[in-house]
Symmetry: C2
Amino acid sequence: VLRSRTLNELTGIDVHLKAEVFQRGGAFKFRGAYNRISRLSSQERDRGVAAYSSGNHAQAVALAARLVGTSAVIVMPQDAPPEKVAATRGYGAQVVTYDRYGQDREEIGRQLAEERGLTLVPPYDDPVVMAGQGTAALELIEEVSDLHALVVPISGGGLIAGSATAAKALRPEIRVIGVEPAAGDDTRRSLEAGRRIRIRVPRTIADGLQAPIPGELTFEVNGRLVDEVVTVTDDEIVEAMGVLFERLKVVVEPSGSVGVAAALSGRIEAAGRGVGIILSGGNIGASRFADLVGASPAR
Amino acid sequence: VLRSRTLNELTGIDVHLKAEVFQRGGAFKFRGAYNRISRLSSQERDRGVAAYSSGNHAQAVALAARLVGTSAVIVMPQDAPPEKVAATRGYGAQVVTYDRYGQDREEIGRQLAEERGLTLVPPYDDPVVMAGQGTAALELIEEVSDLHALVVPISGGGLIAGSATAAKALRPEIRVIGVEPAAGDDTRRSLEAGRRIRIRVPRTIADGLQAPIPGELTFEVNGRLVDEVVTVTDDEIVEAMGVLFERLKVVVEPSGSVGVAAALSGRIEAAGRGVGIILSGGNIGASRFADLVGASPAR
């Protein structure tokens, strides 16, 4: 958990950052993947696992599979960041690619799993995966007990569902605030409408937050436990990445920076109070970072 | 203290990184400056302090002065990184600039101090400053007791003199290894010659390691306690910065990366053994990082 006088001054909030960038695989995803894969039966372990992912879940499943001693096949979009593809292969997984804007990754994943008898490890819509991911908030609240609010990025909704479950159990009065990219606010819209709304795959620099519709299981949990969803623009994300780099000396990918972006943009109402923010991942290459932040006209 | 499986695999060493990038002011320099400035007499405090610095010592003196409640005048090179100048002014110090390749900063600093009755806070050649800086190694060894070697960047030699003093007192058998930029190996040459040798101000991306001659006091200590000095090229520094960014998610400036550069280049002989490396600072702007690492042909 990182703290920064500068960030507190810039936001007017007492910020506690849960730095999942230092997690194995560079993101919170390992928590859910390992929780699921470590519970395979010995027969399932013999056959292996499959997963579909825009990147961090892929690495997490590949790494967890290696640690548990099973094999992994990962379905990744063709335009996934090359360092994420390389890292996934580096953990020993087989990578199968698809077109993010044309094909349905869930369908491809399911087909692969059926054909080869693999166990599908969903990125979020699974109780064991959600529970594992929620240990990020569990650890944060065990370390900082008196938080007024908890701020969590939302993609499919697994991290915030698990985190809200843990947080509200330990501290019922805590306010759970989700953050989505402005272009990909499917959960915000769905919670307002009271039903799951599918949007077009959002074009945003937050490549980990491009799920077009909330998960079934996550939506049920989040409808009960999430107090508010706010959104941030890509420019606000870039600004947050710059502040995290220059002032906190920590590398956070676009998707992982949305909580700090919301705080810097004044969208977290908690003046002077303790707020936990999950920096969900730090997997970004130096050249991509340079393109986004180093030459940003917004900065 | 950070550890990384990846870095251990890449170097073949069991690496323990003392991350001074998270220190106040973003570098180890605060340790020495605060140790000195907190000991001013009340008369000295009324008159204020002066310092000359290529950057991190400037911020450290400015910050320590503000905390102690005194004023600071800082002599900085005209081509110091703009974010370091801005941060120094941001702490409330007055900045006076000079030409790094033409004028003598020590002379300017001394003159200023005399004219205005200020107490000069040297960047390294002062026993109280050296002792303060050495607490970086003190803390590292208190946390990791069985290190085979300690790797420390060398500029004027204060950090390594203080660190070697602390390290050898706690663990006499520890090997203390200094690292200099290949273009600025004044301490390596001086230790070989047995006397202080002045070189031309080195042109290297490691802007914090450009001292052209070892300090008088530091050289005496380092001659007794430093076991070896190795050098690294600018390309090796850029490579190390990239690995620290992409794999460890931590922002380290060129001068702070030389220890990891030496380990990645196979210049630290300690196969499989515990080695402490001081990441001495992390003050680098995103655009400078982008220029150096994001578009590096070496990577």
